[in-house]
Structures are given as structure tokens and as C-alpha cells.
């Protein structure tokens, strides 16, 4: 007997771009009326071809994606924004239908596309546990059986009979995740659920997910949190532009992912913001010649430039860049708080460009990925994103270029060596 529980077969999904349909009944009616009188379409712009539905303009969010998932497997789905991960999960959880292809599923499937779905602010925590549980597919007796466990997990026992509108956002999320974590489907689909709550709670969620997978259940896990993916998933699927690029053991895929980030063009632009304090607009890597690049010269300095806007004054605001090697090791962290000008750095609202110059002959050749964060130290996290941009450090005749081998090590600095003869005494290395 096959132990495959999800079989995705050539699934594609097209979205229509631009204006969808006629919009209003009035427009469709006027269009129909005009057609009847043999007049031109009143809503067609001058010079535009008559293609009322714009059939040509389709966007394939998923393009013939196929893979199988076995029972008890934890499959991570990774890829940049817009790679089609969320669309895939939406189809799997039946929120929308594929345009072609089919998916076969064995067992009950539950999806956690966002925690707290369907919470009603006026209802108490207790009432919302039942409501949310039912929305996620549990029956009343199931919820009743798990109720104490859910409340204990959420750590909000005292407030369980308070309307959730009085909850802090942390409490809200904890309760919501607690409900979701106690679903007992054969297949669980999670999307970014761990991007919530404080670090302690995140750890707890991760632990809970591990328990779930040990219990023989299958999990599909989409996340930008690479550490979580590495920890949780046996296998990973890497998506790019609607296609399944690679699928295989997590560590192999992870390396490919970071590498494949390096094929990027050295610039990352954000167009979605969910923050009303700071907005990161772009992050660029500038080579020694000042041009944007995804490949930097090992010998020469390069600059990471971050363009951002502060929407309201954030005293004590700090930016940090973390350079990650392709095996996940942190090469180093660079923060503007290390600069002597940090104390007097402007933090009032406005647009800023921050530059961090990384000296040449520091990083070893290879692929790197950047994590970007903005926070007020010990107070508040404003922005965190892992794998913001990848880049490669290219061997162009650096320290280790003399022989055609890659030297091990994260950094590859040019250090001073001096060798002198000391007669017949034992050999000594001395740094001057």
C-alpha cells in the first residue's frame, strides 16, 4: 500500500490580471446595450482592441506543480514572495480551486492560513475557542475534550472569560494558536503562523508542531523563518515564479535556496507594508564601482544600502544586517548602533538612506544571504525579515586565489605574514 497522503498532480492556477469582469451591473448593461445598437464599447479606451474580458492577460500563479507527500512527513515550502507558495496552500485547503490539474488527499486536512480567523471581539476567550475550533473543523465534543489543554497552552487562564477585544495582541495570538495547535487532522497546513507572538511563545509553537509530526501526522509548512524550516522539516520544496524548482532533503534545498537568492540582481524592493512606524523600501548591494550587483568582488569593498521611511519618531531606533553563510552559519552581524554617530542618528519621521560598507578581503567566496531587522533595543521589534537578499562573493584573485581551491572558512581576511630565519631554533610564527 502506498503511504502517500497528498498527491499534487500538474496543478496550475491562473489569475486574471487587471480589471476583473465588468465591475458593475451598470457597466455590463451599457456594454450590452451598446453592442445591441452596434456602437463601440463605451468602456473601451480609445485605441484599445475589443477584448472585453482581456483573456490574454493571465498570470500563472502556479504552473504545473507536481509532488507527493508521505504520511508523517513534514514538508517545508520555501520561496520568495510571489513564488506561489500561498496559492498552493490555498488550493490545498480548498479556499480556491485550481485552474487545471488535480490533488488527491488521504485523510482530514486542516489549514492554518492565519491564526484567529473568525474570532469575534465581543465574545469571551472561552466562547471564541469553541467558535474558532468549529470554523477550523472541530466538532463541539472534540473542542470540549481539548478545552483545558488549549487554555493551558495559551497561558491566559485568568482571562478566559473576558471578551477578546480587551486582550493584548499577544494574548489574542496565543489563544488563537492554541486552538489551532490542538486540531487533530491527519494533514496540517501552516502558513507563517510562527511569525507571531514573542520568542518564547514561538519556541513553544515550534515544539508543539514537532510533537504533532512525531504523532505520525503530515505537515505542510510554509515559512520565511529558515531556522524553523530547518528544524522542523525533513524535506523541502523550493518554489520560484509558480514552478516547483526543487524538492528534496531540507539541508540540500536550503543551500540551493540561498544560492538561488544570489542569482538575484542585488536589489530587493518592498511594495507591501504592514507597519505604521517604519517602512523599508529597498535594500541594494552596491559593488565597488557603485553599481547594483548580486555578485561582489572578494577583494574590494561593497556597500549594503537600505532606503527606508520613518513614519513617526522612533527614538533609539536601530537597523541590523545579518550575513548568513549558505549552511546557515551567521558570518557576522552589522548594526548602525555600532557607529559612533548612533546616539545622534536622526530618528524623526522622514526618508533615509543607510549605508553599511563591508571591507574587501573579509568574506570568503561563496553565497550569502542577508537578514534585515529594525528595532528599538530591548523594547520593540519593528521589522524582521530573513533571507531578504542573497549575493555571492566572487573569487577574483583574493587572498586564496593563488591556488585554485576554495579555502574553508566564513571569512578570508588578508593577514600579515612574516617569515624569517631564526637559525636552528624551532620555527615561530610572529605577527607584527
Amino acid at each position: 500500500m502506498s503511504d502517500t497522503v497528498i498527491s499534487v498532480q500538474k496543478v496550475s492556477k491562473a489569475y486574471r490580471l487587471g480589471q476583473i469582469g465588468g465591475g458593475t451591473l451598470k457597466e455590463d448593461f451599457s456594454r450590452w446595450w451598446a453592442k445591441l445598437l452596434r456602437k463601440p464599447d463605451p468602456f473601451l479606451k480609445i485605441g484599445e482592441e475589443h477584448n472585453a474580458r482581456k483573456i490574454g492577460e493571465q498570470f500563472w500563479a502556479l504552473d504545473e506543480v507536481s509532488f507527493n507527500v508521505k504520511q508523517g512527513e513534514v514538508l517545508g515550502v520555501i520561496g520568495r514572495n510571489g513564488a506561489g507558495k500561498s496559492t498552493l496552500l490555498k488550493i490545498l485547503s480548498q479556499v480556491t480551486m485550481p485552474t487545471s490539474g488535480q490533488i488527491k488527499i488521504k485523510g482530514r486536512i486542516a489549514s492554518l492560513l492565519e491564526v484567529g480567523t473568525g474570532f469575534h471581539p465581543e465574545l469571551t476567550g472561552r466562547e471564541n475557542v469553541f467558535l474558532n475550533g468549529a470554523i477550523l473543523g472541530m466538532t463541539k465534543p472534540e473542542i470540549r475534550k481539548k478545552f483545558d489543554e488549549i487554555v493551558a497552552f495559551s497561558e491566559i487562564e485568568e482571562f478566559i472569560d473576558t471578551p477578546v477585544k480587551r486582550y493584548s495582541s499577544g494574548m489574542y495570538v496565543r489563544l488563537a494558536f492554541a486552538v489551532a495547535a490542538h486540531l487533530e487532522p491527519e494533514i496540517l497546513i501552516c502558513d507563517e503562523v510562527l511569525a507571531v507572538g514573542d520568542v518564547e511563545f514561538q519556541k513553544k509553537c515550534l515544539g508543539k508542531m514537532q510533537d504533532v509530526s512525531r504523532g505520525g501526522r503530515t505537515i505542510l509548512f510554509v515559512s520565511h523563518n529558515m531556522a524553523a524550516v530547518t528544524k522542523l522539516c525533513d524535506r523541502c520544496a523550493l518554489m520560484k515564479s509558480g514552478r516547483l524548482q526543487l524538492i528534496g532533503p531540507t539541508n540540500e534545498i536550503m543551500q540551493q535556496y540561498l544560492k538561488f537568492g544570489a542569482q538575484g540582481d542585488g536589489i530587493r524592493v518592498w511594495d507591501k507594508f504592514d507597519n505604521d512606524e517604519i517602512r523599508i523600501h529597498t535594500l541594494k548591494i552596491l559593488g565597488a564601482d557603485g553599481a547594483i550587483t548580486g555578485h561582489v568582488d572578494i577583494r574590494r569593498p561593497f556597500t549594503v544600502e537600505i532606503e527606508y521611511a520613518i513614519l513617526r519618531p522612533i527614538p533609539g531606533f536601530r537597523l541590523a544586517l545579518r550575513f548568513i553563510v549558505s549552511d546557515g552559519t551567521i558570518a557576522f552581524t552589522a548594526s548602525d548602533s555600532a557607529d559612533s554617530a548612533y546616539e545622534t542618528k536622526p530618528s524623526s519621521s522622514g526618508h533615509y538612506v543607510a549605508r553599511c560598507v563591508v571591507p574587501g578581503e573579509l568574506l570568503n567566496e561563496g553565497f550569502y544571504s542577508l537578514n534585515l531587522s529594525a528595532d528599538i533595543p530591548f523594547k520593540k521589534e519593528l521589522f524582521v525579515e530573513e533571507g531578504v537578499l542573497g549575493f555571492s562573493v566572487e573569487q577574483t584573485g583574493g587572498v586564496n586565489a593563488r591556488f585554485s581551491e576554495k579555502w574553508p572558512g566564513v571569512v578570508c581576511p588578508r593577514l600579515k605574514w612574516q617569515t624569517r630565519s631564526v637559525g636552528d631554533k624551532s620555527l615561530q610564527l610572529q605577527e607584527i
Binding site: 476583473i20 465588468g22 458593475t24 489549514s111
Partner: protein
Amino acid sequence: MSENPQMNVPAHSVPADEGWTSVITPHRGWLDWRLRQLWRYRDLITLFVWRDFVSVYKQTILGPLWHIIQPLLTTITFTIMFGRIAKLSTEGVPAFLFYLSGNVMWSYFANNINKTSSTFVGNAALLGKVYFHRLVIPISITLSNLISFAIQLGIFLVFFAIYYFHGANVHFTAWVFCVPLFLLMLAGYGLGGGIIVSALTTRYRDLANLVALGVQLLMFATPVIFPVSAIPEKYRWVLQYNPLTPVIEGFRLGFLGAGHVTLMQLGISFGVMLVVLSIGLMLFTHVEKTFMDTV
């Protein structure tokens, strides 16, 4: 599938056809209503009904009193407007009771159609996140409205008793036993009409505004504020072709002993209701699978 990692995907094997519990395909028949699956969501339906009731109670000062105040105020207005000023006939029934009975029935139908018509657009956030049988929402709305109907029916019976003991010309008839059937029909019409509109509003947003207006106009084509007999022969056909007429008249005949309805009319109306409901279910099924892409 082999144990080896599948690098560079295309080498893809399709597992043998065995024991699949569900298959997601792009196509779904117009008649694939999945009613068995709907039954599995009965707990969710009851929780939604309960949420609607409780949240109204928690949010407003007067709480469930609104269920009483609204029909009473409307009825008083009608009594003054149509009874005292326009002096419309009420077939010998006290005007207040006449209008109240019409109101109670009509508001059940009107609330059903008005509220279910925003199923997709109004719940897009929820429906975009998680799958449950989409009919859960309109059905729970219909059931929630049944609670307010029950409260209003209680009010009606109180006033009926008051009038009855003061010797007014009102009495129950055997038709009163058909009231559950009348309710079922109003629910069917409200739900059917509502889901038709909800399916169409995913494409035509402005239709939602039209519904409230349409329902209001429909009231004047239904014997809610006047009996059929008060309408001149010339225009009576409007009421006779209206499938809601026998339901309202039948209700009045049952509780107040005034009204005209035949089993034949009721049977036809029931048939029309089934047709409306079926069209609604077909459209709903057709739209639900992809509406998230357009809302």
C-alpha cells in the same frame, strides 16, 4: 515513489488509486451541492447562530429588545398611515393585529434575503482563510432570523390574546397548523433569493444595493399591509402571480381567520420555492469555488 530525493522535479510518479478521501479538481458540477458534507458542519451552524444572537445582545444597550421594538414601531406606523389616514380595509380584523401579522411574516423573509445576499462579499476575509462548507453561512443566518421570528411571534400572540379577550373579531382556524410550512417556504424563498444575489454580487457589486430596494417594493406586491380583497380586480393578478401571496394570506387565515388561500395556490408556491432554491444552490456552487479570486 522512491526513497531518493527528487531533485529537479519532473520525475514524478502518480501513486496508485487507492483510499483517497478527497480529490480536488478544477471542475465541479452545478448539482454537486455536497449536502452530506454540510451535515458534518452542523456544529458550526449552531455556533454561528449562537454567535449572531449573543453578539447582538452584547453590543447593544437594548439587546434582544430590538427584536421587539422594530416590528412594533413599524406596525404602529402602518396602523396610523394605512389604517387611520389611508383607511385601507383589513377585512374586519383590528388594524394593529393585521399589520403586525403581516410584518412578522414579511420581516422574516426580508431579513433572510437581505442578510444572506452578502454571504460572499461580507465574509470574504473569513472565507479566504479557511475552508468550511460555504452554505454554513447563509443557513446559519436563516436560523438566526428564526430566533427573532419566534420572539416576534410571541409578541403577536400576546397582542392577539389581548384583542381576543376584548371581543375582537379574530379566531384561529385549522390553517394555523400550516404555519411551520409557511415558515419553511419563507426560509426557502429568502435563502434561495439571498444566495442567488450573493452569487451574482461577486460579479456585480451594485446588485447588493438593489436587493434592499427590490425587497421593499416586493412588499407592496404582497398582501402585507392590505388584504388581497382590498385590491381592485384589475390589479389583483399582480398579487396572484406573486408566490409569496398564499404564504402571507395563509398565515393570516390561520391566526386571524381572515384571508384567502387554496391548497392549489400553496402547492404551486411551494414548487416555485423549490425552483428558486435549486437555482440558488446551483449558482452558489458554481461561484463558491473561485469567488476568492475575484472578491
